[in-house]
Assembly symmetry: C2
DNA sequence: TATTGTTATACTCTATAACTATA
DNA sequence: TATAGTTATAGAGTATAACAATA
């Protein structure tokens, strides 16, 4: 790392800009979309798939606020998930206006497949010495727990 | 980090999946698009802006292959850059079919502004102990140099 | 005949507004 | 009257195909 970077930027900024560079590199570009295509979904619907597994059974509208999109988008995403047999709509027992979205067994499997593909590290990471890889894994996993709200490492959920 | 993650996955996978989780989190979601909007571009055009600065004067088609998109997309992206005064087309001295794209001073400034915004780290990173932040920065900067082709930390270019 | 960049066109994804049903 | 979800519609972004200029 050039000396002027360390001098003019704080470590958190340097770290994050490196993360961004790795993530937006041509090598990584399109990975998310390709993974989604691999399970027959578009990126938005795949994100819903991820969120549902983490959150469990969820009203449509709650899913929307979780994903920062409006109700009509949720309808379309859940339509896509249902079409692939990855989720189903269940009537809420307490409010007949509300529909709950629930992942199917098949949806859980698709999610695992996608996650497995997304977590394949780029050469920049695998080329690091083992010791550095371990430090990265340890520190980044810790960072997830410090997020607000705390996140689980994707592998575990 | 739960023990089973360490047991069933190698450190590089864990590290990368954590990076992905941070980058795709709702907190970070839309950052790229918002930054692009801040300099009056859409995400694709902003990516071209980044690439141009790194690569210097470039034929349209070379820019396209760098960005993994076809020629007509390049035309549209460079149109957007020209409209904002961020780049200009220059006739190639050796081949009259070819147009070179060159960033303007204004384009370089816009890029710095965008980069500055993109490198603001999320709370998950800033909440780490200083010592961890420094380790992250050091290791990730090293990882960039190990990429193929090697990358510069965004701050430096 | 092949290649560069452009234009015209269509498709996908996302966002907005009007609608139905329940509360 | 307010809220949940849907449908209809329009917009942005991206990709495909036909085109003119040059090699």
């Amino acid at each position: 790392m050039p000396a002027d970077v360390a001098a003019t930027s704080n470590p958190a900024r340097v770290a994050w800009s490196c993360v961004a560079a790795l993530f937006m590199s041509p090598q990584n570009h399109g990975r998310f979309a390709q993974t989604a295509a691999g399970i027959g979904l578009n990126p938005g619907a795949m994100k819903a798939l991820m969120t549902l597994h983490t959150m469990g059974e969820l009203p449509m509208r709650a899913l929307g606020s979780e994903l920062h999109c409006d109700a009509s988008m949720v309808t379309q995403m859940v339509d896509a998930l249902e079409a692939k047999g990855y989720a189903e709509r269940v009537a809420s027992p307490t409010d007949r206006r509300v529909k709950l979205v629930r992942l199917t067994k098949r949806g859980v499997n698709a999610r695992h497949q996608a996650l497995d593909q997304l977590s394949v590290p780029p050469a920049a990471i695998t080329s690091l010495p083992e010791r550095d890889q371990e430090a990265l894994a340890r520190i980044l996993a810790k960072a997830l727990t410090l997020a607000d709200p705390p996140m689980d490492p994707p592998h575990t959920v």
